[in-house]
């Protein structure tokens, strides 16, 4: 076995781990966003699904196919040795929603990444997080060449609750993505504070 015995002597640090989800339509830049802040190249993890009769998995023409592979890209940010934040890009296709439930469990919050040219792609994600009461922030990825709209116009088009933040971002830019993540956690903090306050009264 090729492992260093000496390194075993010190007790490994057990980090507190947290996760933020990154949702949005296919090709909106979820993995790019994860890669912009992750200390590791975004990794891909796969779940092989074999359950029969998963809804709307149209196997017409490929009837012999009995398994489906769902991929999730994720990145890691070590905030401190004992505090690690993971970012998970949610599978883009609607038919993998049952995986979202698992991903969303214990998630600290979510980013809904939107493209103004295909806003309707983000409706599903917004609806999902609203229903589950998961704190989220909408980040409009400003693609080059895409027309810019005023924030208020996009908010109205998405029918966002007043307290949900909407920010413009560049998913390739580390600083930009950092501020998106800060916005998500700040929103989570407001909600957590409120929950504590109402629990106290």
């Amino acid at each position: 076995m090729a492992f260093g015995r000496s390194s075993r002597k010190k007790t490994p640090v057990e980090p507190v781990t947290l996760k933020i989800l990154v949702a949005g339509g296919f090709g909106v830049g979820k993995t790019t966003l994860v890669g912009a802040v992750s200390e590791i190249r975004p990794l891909r993890t796969e779940e092989v699904l074999t359950e029969a009769g998963r809804p709307v998995d149209d196997l017409h023409g490929v009837e012999a196919k009995t398994t489906t592979t769902v991929a999730m890209d994720f990145g890691r940010i070590t905030l401190r040795e004992d505090l690690v934040l993971y970012l998970f890009g949610t599978p883009g296709q609607d038919r993998f929603w049952f995986l979202w439930d698992e991903l969303a469990q214990g998630a600290l919050g979510a980013v809904v990444l939107a493209d103004t040219r295909r806003l309707e792609d983000s409706f599903a994600a917004i609806d999902y997080f609203e229903r589950r009461g998961i704190p989220f922030t909408v980040a409009v990825n400003c693609f080059e060449g895409a027309r810019r709209y005023p924030v208020e116009t996009v908010r109205a088009a998405l029918d966002l609750d007043p307290e949900v933040e909407l920010v413009l971002c560049d998913a390739r830019d580390r600083e930009s993505v950092k501020s998106v993540l800060v916005a998500v956690v700040e929103h989570a903090l407001v909600l957590a504070d409120r929950a504590h306050a109402s629990a106290a009264t």
């Binding site: 076995m1 190249r41 891909r44 993890t45 934040l85 993971y86 214990g106 950092k178 800060v182």
Partner: protein, 145 residues
């Protein structure tokens, strides 16, 4: 979907393998030679345990000092312990690093927990937000990046 997944998939490259062994009739596109759940002897979940979260961290116990010695462990079990000995890793990281489906890693880690070779940290309980002080630390940590 799976085509796109294969193309975009990082860490799957096997440099030299195709050239060194030119006559193999299979390649990565053909999928693994061993069906993933063969490694778990067909089990898709660990018996009687809560499903391990993707960000649950696997920490080796002192008893895991030489997992290679335990003959009942598969090479994959041993590799999980080794990877975590260097630095405790999450289920998601292990799955990506070992190039195994998450479900397989869950079962294998479950075995190691049963053998008391590792323990697993519990992330924040479901449907419960993390502590306010942790959220503040996350914000400060992100700003300081």
């Amino acid at each position: 979907m799976s085509d796109a997944a294969e193309r975009g998939r990082p860490g799957r490259e096997n440099p030299g393998r195709a050239t060194a062994v030119p006559h193999h009739w299979y390649d990565d596109e053909a999928g693994p030679v061993v069906r993933p759940y063969a490694m778990t002897r067909g089990r898709t979940s660990a018996a009687g345990r809560h499903r391990l979260d993707l960000i649950a961290v696997v920490v080796p116990e002192p008893a895991a000092d030489d997992p290679g010695r335990d003959q009942s462990l598969s090479p994959e079990h041993v590799e999980i312990v080794e990877r975590c000995s260097e630095q405790p890793q999450s289920i998601a990281e292990l799955a990506a690093g070992l190039d195994l489906p998450v479900g397989v890693v869950r079962v294998l880690v479950g075995d190691l927990v049963d053998e008391e070779l590792v323990h697993v940290t519990r992330p924040v309980p479901p449907a419960q937000l993390p502590d306010v002080s942790i959220l503040r630390e996350v914000i400060n940590g992100l700003r300081a990046l």
